[in-house]
Amino acid sequence: MKPQRRLFLAVARSITAACVISAVLTPHITAQATAQADPGPHSLPVQQPGASSGERLDPYAPWPTARLRVRVIDGRTLQPLPGAEVVLVETEQRLRTGANGYTPWFDAPVIRNPRFRPLVAELHGQLTVIAYKNGYRDSIHMGIRTHEGLDSQATVWMYKIGPEDRRIEPVLYQEPYHHLWLIELVDRFRRNSQLGEGWQDPNR
């Protein structure tokens, strides 16, 4: 094969690979395009991670998605904050809140923590968003719960920067784990000889 032809083939192959990778890694492009549209039917899960413990985690397979919207409110007045920018950390989707403080509905991935996946499948996925708005502290909100095929919403509290504020740093809120899953987690690793609080007694 001539060197020019070989070079051409190599370039064509790398362009194809780049297109595939960008399609996988930049779902926010498609998400932003759909975010403005009316909420449509639920998107079906593409891949169900953690369905069986023998299944290997493939980081390049597309995640299942679910619709999500984020509401941003002033943490002190509890009034909606329009014009805040909300970034979904996992996919870098960027959305802006409307007059009612809500972002449009958008497709967000359902990501379960791979640390626990083969041991105890988490009952919901978790996401992180950051909210930015001029005059307010940046707010990080971790552990937003998402479920396949289910609409979810989350509320981010933002705090106004006042004249007395000196050291201005982000505010973190971490949603706690669902207590039903915590009960499953401890029961999964409990030994018969180590009851601890024991299996739940219905009479208590």
Binding site: R71, I73, L123, H124, R145, H147, E148, L150, D151, S152, Q153, T155, Y173, Q174, E175, P176, H178, H179, L180, I183, E184, W199, Q200, P202, N203
Partner: protein
Amino acid sequence: MSKFRVFVSAAVALGIISPTAAYAAPTVDNTQEPATIRVAIRENNPNGEPDPRGRIVWVQSVPFYEYCQDVLPNEWMPSWHAESLKAGAIAIKMFAWYHHLHPITIDGFTFDVDNTTNFQTFRYLSRQPVTDRAVASIRRYAYVKPNGEIIELNYRAGIPNDPNWQYRNAQKMAQWGSQYWAQRGRNYIQILQFYYEQRALRQVQT
């Protein structure tokens, strides 16, 4: 006769016999649905989660149905079957209603429920569309004794993929059990009937 009356009034005066409490048990017929509920917010533990043994920081008044909406996604799993969520919504509502009728005072704070598993897990503004629909769908109903008396409907997590008969024996609903029965085609009334015996579904006065 007069001797007996004198004896009884003397016994009452001396505190030997307490006069019979002349109040009617709160029923759905003589009690209005609560408009708001007082939620004691307990101190967070170092991980940032409300601590069931923590100090009470303040008492928040929450509209009654907003309270139910902000409890259901934290007690039941929003991805569960709709009938399971409805059964959960009834249990949460009746638990809260009962405790609204029986407030307590701790450390100078008077409240109906707190925001931890001492009562029901409550996170302000954590409501989700699917659980809101479950709360709205049971809004006209109450699950009470056949005479209408409002009682506490208790529930516990239970065991996944199991009917949880032991919770029926204890007259508590198993949360996982409600999902088990809903997946097998039972509706929320049948689920409630399975776990709580001798109860009736009644319409609430509006």
